[in-house]
Symmetry: C2
Subunit: 227 residues, 2 copies
């Protein structure tokens, strides 16, 4: 990317990560940890393969991404974020929080991947009973399942399924998202078609609901997602 040539930290940051796709590559690596080229390509539907390889190289030479030749049995290249790259998390958190307003409307042709729930889950859900038993929540949306693990105050999301989930939410991604963001109560989401199976009370532990009134503790360092 052509530099803005401005001595301003925002412009400097955009010089490095302002290119198209760059921040989304960081998103995937933050959510999933080490990724193969193919994993990245799958997590970035629509990217052209030449652009992906260009961007990875740029992020690498900017010191945000590290390439690791994994030994057998993996025997492939894995891409990781460096520390500087991982420090972009607050940027993605802020962007993700701001962008939720554009997700109320149905997707209409948009691609979806279950792991993209990781950011909303970390942003909106909070384990209000850190001493309680660990929880597993399975999310089934658009053929791309994901699992939220709640344990000891942390909220982690990963792609995949869980046979022994305490709770399963199945339905359109926007219903799950609006539920997490507080725009819908569980009952309202169910009325709109969200299937809630299992122990629905675990939602009380996670959602910023009526008890523990809204706006009490804005945001500190909470549990984060990991691969």
């Amino acid at each position: 990317m052509r530099s803005y040539g401005e001595y301003c930290s925002i412009a400097k940051a955009l010089d490095v990560i302002g290119d198209r796709w760059s921040l989304l590559i960081v998103r995937e690596l933050l959510i999933r940890g080490g990724c193969r080229y193919t994993d990245l390509k799958d997590g970035l539907p629509g990217i052209a393969t030449n652009l992906l390889s260009d961007r990875i190289r740029e992020l690498e030479s900017a010191g945000l991404v590290r390439r690791e030749d994994a030994p057998p049995p993996v025997a492939t290249t894995l891409f990781h974020l460096t520390e500087a790259g991982a420090e972009l998390r607050p940027v993605l958190d802020a962007l993700g929080r701001w962008g939720v307003r554009y997700m109320i409307e149905p997707a209409d042709g948009d691609q979806f991947r279950g792991q993209w729930f990781a950011f909303p889950a970390s942003l909106f859900l909070r384990d209000r009973d850190p001493g309680g038993p660990p929880l597993l929540i399975e999310l089934r949306a658009a053929d791309s399942p994901a699992v939220i693990e709640v344990s000891g105050g942390t909220v982690c999301t990963r792609p995949g399924t869980a046979a022994d989930a305490d709770l399963t939410l199945a339905g359109a991604p926007q219903l799950i998202l609006r539920l997490f963001a507080g725009g819908l109560s569980p009952a309202q989401a169910a009325d709109l078609g969200l299937q809630i199976r299992g122990d629905a009370r675990v939602l009380d532990r996670l959602l910023p609901g009526s008890p523990d009134a809204a706006g009490s503790t804005p945001a500190g360092a909470r549990g984060r997602t990991r691969a």
Copy 2:
């Protein structure tokens, strides 16, 4: 900008503000409040005038910018952020904080505007004596002066000068920035050429120095800049 077509709030946010120059336009409007076209052009050195008019119109139709035909004596169009646009501040804060790492090195041909100190000032300075007397700090860097007003716990920055400043800092922008960010003590900055005139003790009130040890209160809602 072409949509990413992903049902992810980060991608949706980038669909709206991911275009080149868009976030920097928001930066200028956040720092200075209502701006004329010419003000924006001056605050975005390097932008082509057709791009500026394109971007303003895009931001307008996205609902982030509002156009106001000011009556005489101004008799010109003023551009403002809408509420949705102003809510991008946490995004710019996070970006600005992350990008500071790229400002340690000298600018070398970069453009500079005094008002760009507004973000570092709000991010790094804190009025640790909200009951103390109001303060005026004049910054003189690269022919583009700015003033920081500290009063009752808020830290506001605007372009311009102050005849009766309590403190004047004159020197290279990176010296002032590193001083604010905690990378240099006042004495070290002075050794490197920063001219500190006036009551240097006001810095103790603002810098996160040795008393009130580092990392105690990370970041709550603090004073913000205004035009």
